[in-house]
């Protein structure tokens, strides 16, 4: 069946429908990872967004449930150049098309994803629609333009706390839409992880029996989360070791009265170089964010930049002075992507160790 991708600037791409036959309006971003489409589909940070894969062949190795970063996909729609005729991998549970049908995610294939990527690069990420209806574009543009990514953290977070693993360190993992691999990395390092809903009051954590706090990744505009930021202020003031990733990193900045801003088309891929300000070492990281901390909003007395992006110089990590808080914009948990910065989980363990022994 034919499908159409309509972008808010009026561009229309005709392709072939796959996955669920469903109309969707969302923000559209592109991702340059060459592997890891299952992890991308299920990354809750994509709530409210559809993803255009720049790598043209998707579905080659099917879907393995073990690769899911959440219980189900969060991507709104999926745009690929070519859906593989079959999946081939010893771990495959089902092929990608069936997986998307089962999870009610619409897809469009057979479109020039490179051309779409260039549009988004030049004009910034924009809204769009995937549909199987042949609309008169003018009819739907207003509706498409009106879309806004809102309330997505609430959609992604867990309903109630739950525990994972056991070990020496008890970590509270704030779930703003956490990827599973964050908890896995902590459990692997001997942590007992309690995943808590985004709305959990700071006092509950401070008074709980925790050695450290991990603020997770998540979707949407960080500035929207006013209530959560208030709680994080309290958490920060508690003196507990805190590590934050992606949205958590942005929220921590807001909690210190810094500002965030939206990038033109964000960073979405598995090849982003980040430089550690201490060592000068460069690591390749997975990134998935549209927002960054505004550099000139940082109070140098309060915090200093820890990591920067080698390509565009944007802030990729912060260290808070006189506080046991470190945050990164990129994804040390990878999934999908390189494992170069997994050592940061060890750093977090050290932070908690120092705290515990103090």
């Amino acid at each position: 069946m034919k499908a159409y991708l309509i972008l808010e600037d009026g561009h229309v791409f005709e392709g072939v429908s796959f996955g669920a036959e469903k109309e969707v309006i969302s923000e559209f971003v592109f991702n340059t990872s060459m592997t890891g489409y299952t992890e991308i589909l299920t990354d809750p940070s994509y709530a409210g967004q559809s993803v255009v894969m720049t790598y043209p062949l998707i579905g080659n190795y099917g879907v393995s449930y073990k690769d899911q970063e959440a219980a189900h996909p969060f991507v709104e729609g999926f745009v690929v150049h070519e859906l593989s005729r079959l999946g081939s991998n010893f771990r495959m549970n089902m092929n990608l098309n069936d997986y998307m049908i089962e999870n009610n995610i619409p897809g469009i294939q057979g479109v020039d994803t490179r051309a779409i990527t260039k549009i988004i690069r030049q004009h910034g990420c924009m809204n769009g629609m995937i549909t199987t209806q042949k609309y008169n574009v003018d009819e739907v543009l207003d509706k498409i333009k009106a879309f806004k990514v809102e309330g997505v953290v609430q959609r992604c977070t867990c309903d109630a706390p739950y525990k994972l693993g056991r070990g020496d360190f008890h970590v509270a993992l704030y779930d703003f839409g956490a990827k599973r691999n964050i908890a896995k990395e902590l459990v692997k390092r001997g942590c007992e992880v309690t995943v808590v809903p985004a709305s959990t009051p700071a006092s509950e954590i401070i008074n709980g029996n925790y050695d450290g706090i991990m603020l997770s990744n998540g979707p949407g505009d960080p500035a929207e989360n006013v209530e959560i930021v208030k709680e994080i202020k309290e958490l920060a003031a508690s003196g507990m070791p805190i590590f934050a990733i992606c949205l958590g990193h942005q929220l921590m900045a807001l909690a210190h009265d810094f500002k965030t801003e939206k990038l033109k088309f964000g960073h979405h891929g598995a090849n982003h170089p980040v430089r550690d300000a201490h060592t000068g070492r460069v690591y390749i990281s997975t990134q998935n964010h549209n927002y960054v901390i505004k550099e000139d909003s940082i109070d140098p007395e309060v915090a200093k930049v820890w990591f920067t992006n080698v390509n565009d110089g944007t802030i990729e990590g912060m260290e808070y002075i006189n506080e046991n808080i470190r945050t990164v914009q990129f994804h040390p948990e990878a999934s999908a992507g390189p494992h170069d910065t997994a050592y940061l989980f060890d750093e977090f363990i050290k932070m908690m160790g120092g705290h515990k022994n103090a």
Binding site: Y55, S64, D67, R121
Partner: protein
Amino acid sequence: MPKRKDIHKVLVIGSGPIIIGQAAEFDYAGTQACRALKEEGIEVVLINSNPATIMTDKDIADHVYIEPLTVPTVKHLIEVEKPDSILPTLGGQNALNIAMALDDEGFLEAHNVKTIGTNCATIKEAEDRELFKELMERIQEPIAPSKTVNYVEDALEYAREIGYPVVVRPAYTLGGTGGGIAHNEKELHDICSNGLRLSRVSQVLIEKSIAGWKEIEYEVMRDHAGNCITVCNMENIDPVGVHTGDSVVVAPSQTLGDREYQMLRSSALNIITALGIEGGCNVQYALNPYSFEYCVIEVNPRVSRSSALASKATGYPIAKLAAKIALGYTLDEIKNAVTGKTYASFEPALDYIVCKIPKWPFDKFYDASRKLGTQMKATGEVMAICNNFEGALMKALRSLEQNVFYLNLDNLKDKDTIYLRRKLKDVDDQRLFVIAESLRKGISVQEIHEITMIDVWFIDKIRHLVQIEERLRSEPLTIELLKEAKEREFPDRVISELSGMKSERIRQLRLENNITAAFKTVDTCAAEFAAETPYFYSVFGGEHEIAPDENKKKVMVLGSGPIRIGQGIEFDFCSVHCVWALKEAGYETIIVNNNPETVSTDFDIADRLYFEPLTAEDVREIVDLEKPDGAIVQFGGQTAIKLTQDLMNMGVKILGTSADDVDAAEDRERFDEILEKCHIDRPRGDTVFTVDEAIAAANKIGYPVLVRPSYVLGGAGMEIALNDGDVKKFIGHINEQFQEHPILIDKYLSGKECEVDAICDGTGVLIPGIMEHVERAGVHSGDSISVYPPQKLKKEVQHTICEYTERLAKALHVVGLINIQFIVYEDEVYVIEVNPRSSRTIPYISKVTGIPIVKVATKAIMGHSIPEQGYSYGLVPEKDTVAVKMPVFSFEKITGAEISLGPEMKSTGEVLGISKDPDEAMYKAFIGTGIDLPKKKNIICTVKDSSKEEFLPIAKQYYMFGYDLYATKGTYEFLKAHDVPCHFVNRITEKTNTIFDLMLTDTVDLVIDIPTRNSNLKDGFVIRRFAVEAGIPIYTSLDTAQALINSLEKKHNGSTSLVDIAKL
């Protein structure tokens, strides 16, 4: 950290002659590195024995030595030039071995030479099997169970322990020379003894076979600060067991999930960190297709064929960065030249698929075994880029220039499933075709997978191609179907063949429906950043993204495709120089080529690079877009020449000699007319089409005659026939391969061959020099030793040659280059061949005469006369330096190939010997080919009856020089009768004291075997193969044997002289 302050003068070691396993990729890497060093103000000293390379141009390095790549020569060079550093990781295994030897001896330290880039300790750790194994165990990287042995007995014992099959890998050899998979004791015995002999340190690794696992490669880079990145990973379609150089390879990997991808990536970074690599490195893995189990197969701590492929596949210039890293820069300090914005410390994101297919020499060696294994056999490769796998495969397939345009071989068409099922088990160059045919005949994807262990994903893609074929055959050609076929890169000619619709009609249909190629950019970043580098590939079914500049004067240069015997790196040298000359003259340049190993496909050579197949249809899409003002075809070998007529049909102006005049040189009758008009003789000949005509012609002319197809390169299919039977046999061979063209029958004259390359501007002719061949006529010019300036040609003869050259150039209205081959027979000059285009000798003759031949020719083509360029017409006065070009062969790699020389070219590369003294030049050339004489002072001779008289004085010379001669019956008795002391050995059919026994004792320096032409005796063939496989130099021409002993006799004691050609 910025540039190191302690590096000012760097010695770069090249890789030497082109041989199987070490081809043009090292010229690409070396050239890029030298340019990067010079860019940083470093004084570069270069040594490479291969004159056909671009890196040995005097503008690439400050001091250029085309000298034998031996330890003594490099030592001497270091003493003379006194570099402060040496960069050994850019010249392949050869360069690495030399640097290691110098380091082992303490020579580098004694002369205060630093090893920059990856150091010798690291190289040793990566290359020495035992050290590497220890390191892998220490950092917990799995390797297949293995053991290093120095004796066959130990190998057998270990194999009993780990079980068969086992892989044998000799240490310190290139291209896996001498390796193999042994399934039983007998095979292990054979492979292992051969491997031990070929290893520089008599060491082989016996390893448990992991055949059937996926073979995955990672190209990684690391700087001294410890930053590491992956440039690219690649997946071999052929599972482990086939040398990666002989595998069909895709980039990036297609069947790996992120877990597998990252697991191996982390491992690769772990390994280069542990090794402390500073520069580029290649890591090869075997991955169990049914688990996360993997093992490291091999690490190459240097740039390699794979790194060249990865550079072209991604746009990330590995060799250039390796050079900058060696100077002390870190990855995040070096700008990404493609985007101009990002830095080298990132990982390329591809938004297309790259497919590489090897180019094998089996069309040259039709008797050789086509089996593929751990010993590489390909001479070159092609790469294609597309946004789908099927398309990339189809494009690569037609880039091979084998007259094959889809996965279809006529000889498989009538085969049944029983045959195909058996054939699927054969791992050879036809495997993809067999798979396609099996699918056509209904064998399932799963079954093919189970037999071949090729991933289902790839087999299904081939099935997709077969399904489209089927639809084209059976369904009406709708626009949808046409679109689909074009998206999978079915060329119009195949669509026409399958659908029955005429090609012209298909093209018209495409144009009416806008089904044309769209060009996309290779930008390293999947369009995330705006790219500044014009490196393009085509797809169907997408948007055009490039806009040609309408205002510029544009010239298109057609490249020469994959490296093959007869069309090697020389033509890339010519294409690149043509581009440079055009740029200098103010033109915008467009290059079209498909060979990832070459300099011409580096994205900073031409203004615009189209990485595309060199077929008329593919080129037409580029022409339609660019609308070039003209095209130059005379520098890209036969590949480019073949496109002349098509380009003209497209309305493209052919710059330089016109197509009609090219045809006049190739067409027998027209050419005879021209010769007659010019009063020039040629050996008598005739053009025929059938065997009967051929026999009649041969008898009229008188035997011996040369039989050859017209319009071929490198003397393909050319043979000397002595009788009617030979003629019959050869025409049979020719008709198997070159059906469309007539066959030429010529009188064979056993004279001296000479060769001239000349430039004509339409008015006058510039002749840089005359080259004289050592071997008499009958040996292909590419396989002959060639000497400049001529040593044995009378002045009058030289004069005649120049006179003829001028007449022919003018009569053929040559504008640009012309190559003419002559035979001098009893002081008469005959013309045997005229090629109005660049030739294989251009690079070497340019270098030794100091005349930039391609540049002058290109400018002449663009309308600048020779005098206007500061040169005068006529023969350039001889230099006082003698240059000897000597062929190098790769026979040991091609099992079953006949090695005796004849009119069909067999060499893969060449070396040069330069000296003021002709004998020393000859000696240096011999040394450059890798022989090391005299050592053991024993020589075996088997000489055919008709040559025995002529051999006598040569035999005496060897004897007087101190050689012990061994000969079989006939030769023995002859020498004895003429008082040349000689030992008797039995022929191979006897039980004891045979030639084999003698060769096995490892005491023989040389074999001189002058075979009876075209005899059906297997004896001689077996002796020659045995010598080659035993690593004993063997010459099959008396002229070569004579040249060798002459040069040995006059060899100066001590080291040879050094000539800096930048100062010539």
